[in-house]
Amino acid sequence: MHGQSRFGLGLRKPHYAEFLEHRIAVDFVEVISENFMVDGGRPRQILRDVRALYPVALHGVSMSVGSAEGLDRAYLARLRALVHEIEPLFVSDHLCWTRVGGFNSHDLLPLPYTEEALEIVVANVAAAQDALGRTMLIENPSSYVAFDGAAMREWEFLDAVCARTGCGLLLDVNNVFVSAANHGFDARAYLDFLPPERVGQIHLAGHSQGEALLIDTHDRPVPASVWDLYAHVLPRLGPVATMIERDDDIPPLRELLAELATARAISIGSERLAA
C-alpha cells in the first residue's frame, strides 16, 4: 500500500489563493470531500484549478462506514462523481458512524469493537469500494468513550477490516495519542501492531486538553509527543505519504510548511537509519 515518501498539507480556505498563485512546495494537498460535493460554482472551480497544479487526496467525514443501516447511496453517487473528475491520489474516510434513523450527527462517533460491528464495517467498506471502483483508506479515529463487550482492540479491528476488504489505513498518529491517553492503552503497542504494508498515508495534527480528556481539536501545531510517535513508527512503515492536518485557528501557510519540513527531516532520518 505504501512505498513513496510524499509530503502534503490539508488545503483550507485561507490558503486557496497562495496555492493557486504560487507553486507551493508540497507533493499533494488533501481536501475535505464533502466541501466539494456540490453541483458547481466557485468551490468546484477552485478544486479543478488546484487539481491542475497538485495531486489531490479526498478525505471524507460523512461516509459513515460504521452505520448499522448501511451506506447512503446518494452520498456515494456524489462522491463517485467527484472521484471520477478529480482522479485523487487517495480516497479516505474514518472508522466511525455518523448516521442512524434519518439523523446525521455531523461528528465522528465511536464504534464498539464487536464481531457484529466488524461485519457491518466490512460490508460497508466493501460496498463503498465497489461503488467508487477503487480501494479506500480508513482512518483510525480519536475517541472519548469505549463500550463494554468489545471483542477486540481498535488496532485488531482495523487490521481485520483491512484484511477482509483490501482497504488501506490512514494512520492518524495524533488520534492514536489522544485515544491512548483517553482509554489508557499504550500508543506504541498500537503502532507496533499495525500491518506496515497496509498504511497508505499518515496524518499529523495537534490536540487540546479538555476537562477530563484529550480532545482532537486540530487547532494547534503538532506536539512533541506526536512527533515522537511519528519517529517511532516510521522505521516500521518505510516511505509513506505524510500530511499536516489543521482545521481550526489556521496559521499562515509558512508555519504549516515549517511543520511539514520537520516531517520530511524525520522521514529522511528514518530512511538513513534503515539504509
Binding site: 464533502e34 460535493m37 456540490v38 453541483d39 458547481g40 460554482g41 466557485r42 468551490p43 468546484r44 472551480q45 460523512s62 459513515s64 460504521g66 452505520s67 448499522a68 443501516e69 447512503d72 446518494a74 452520498y75 458512524w97 455518523t98 448516521r99 442512524v100 434513523g101 434519518g102 439523523f103 446525521n104 450527527s105 455531523h106 461528528d107 462517533l109 464504534l111 464498539p112 464487536t114 457484529e116 460491528a117 457491518i120 475517541s143 472519548y144 468513550v145 463500550f147 483517553n182 479538555g210 476537562e211 477530563a212 480528556l213 480532545i215
Partner: protein, 247 residues
C-alpha cells in the same frame, strides 16, 4: 445490545440527553454535535445575526436545534429550515425571515449547477418568432414585503443600517448566480409575471402578446424587449429553442 440499538440510543443522547448525568466522553460528543450545528448557522446567517443581535440569534439557534434534527450528509442542508424557525419566532418582523431567506438563497446559488448562459451574440442568431426561453437552474424567487434587500446591502457594505420598513407594495426578490457570483435584485409584479410565464414554457412571441394584452401595444413591446435585454445581461437565460415545449 445490537449496533443499531446502540446507535439509536447514542443519537438520542446527542439530541436530548442530560449531560450532567453522562460520562465525560459522552459530554464531549454532545458538545461537538451542538457546536457543529451552531457553527453552521452562524456561518450561513452572518447578516441575520448582525441584524437581530448575538443574544437573539443564539436563542434562535437553540430553538432551531431543538426543533430540527440534521438529516442530510451535508451540513449545508441544516441551514434550509432556519428561516422557518425565524418566521415562527418573529411572526411580526418580516424583514428578519426575508433577510435570512436571502442569505440562504445566495448560498445555495453559489454552489448550484454550472451553465454556459446564452450570450448576446448567441441571442442574435435566435429566431425570436419561434423561440422558447430556458432559464438557468440557480434562479430562486420569493415575495418580499420588507426592505430586507436594502438591509443586506447595508450589512454587506458595513454601512449605517436603515430602520426596518415595509415596501410600498410587495415585490419579488430574484436570486441567481452569474459566472461565480451570487446576485439578487427586486422585480415588480409585471416582470415576475413575465418571468413565470416564460419559465413555464410560453414562447417568446406568446409572452410578448401576453404583455401587450396587459399593457397595451406601445408599452408592451418596449417592456418585453426590456425584460429580454435584462435577462440576457443578467445571465438568466441558459438557452433558447425554436420549439414550444408546452402549450
Amino acid at each position: 445490545m445490537s449496533l443499531l440499538a446502540l446507535q439509536r440510543d447514542f443519537g438520542a443522547f446527542l439530541r436530548d440527553g442530560d449531560a450532567a448525568d453522562a460520562r465525560p466522553g459522552m459530554r464531549v460528543y454532545q458538545n461537538n454535535y451542538r457546536a457543529q450545528l451552531v457553527a453552521c448557522l452562524e456561518d450561513g446567517f452572518a447578516r441575520s445575526r448582525a441584524w437581530i443581535g448575538d443574544d437573539a440569534f443564539e436563542q434562535a439557534v437553540i430553538r432551531h436545534i431543538r426543533r430540527v434534527r440534521p438529516s442530510s450528509w451535508t451540513l449545508d442542508a441544516y441551514a434550509h429550515d432556519f428561516p422557518d424557525t425565524l418566521a415562527w419566532l418573529y411572526p411580526h418582523d418580516p424583514e428578519i425571515v426575508e433577510l435570512a431567506w436571502l442569505e440562504l438563497a445566495l448560498a445555495e446559488a453559489f454552489v448550484g449547477p454550472d451553465v454556459d448562459p446564452l450570450s448576446p451574440t448567441d441571442a442574435a442568431n435566435v429566431d425570436w418568432d419561434k423561440a422558447v426561453l430556458h432559464f438557468i437552474p440557480t434562479i430562486d424567487l420569493r415575495g418580499v414585503t420588507s426592505n430586507a434587500c436594502d438591509l443586506w446591502v447595508a450589512l454587506a457594505a458595513g454601512e449605517a443600517l436603515p430602520a426596518a420598513a415595509m415596501l410600498d407594495e410587495p415585490h419579488t426578490a430574484i436570486v441567481w448566480r452569474q459566472d461565480l457570483i451570487s446576485r439578487f435584485r427586486l422585480i415588480d409584479a409585471r416582470e415576475k409575471q413575465a418571468l413565470l410565464l416564460a419559465r413555464a414554457g410560453l414562447s417568446f412571441a406568446d409572452l410578448c402578446a401576453a404583455i401587450i394584452a396587459s399593457c397595451g401595444e406601445a408599452d408592451g413591446v418596449a417592456l418585453a424587449g426590456a425584460y429580454l435585454g435584462r435577462w440576457l445581461a443578467d445571465g438568466l437565460l441558459d438557452h433558447a429553442t425554436g420549439e414550444t415545449q408546452c402549450a
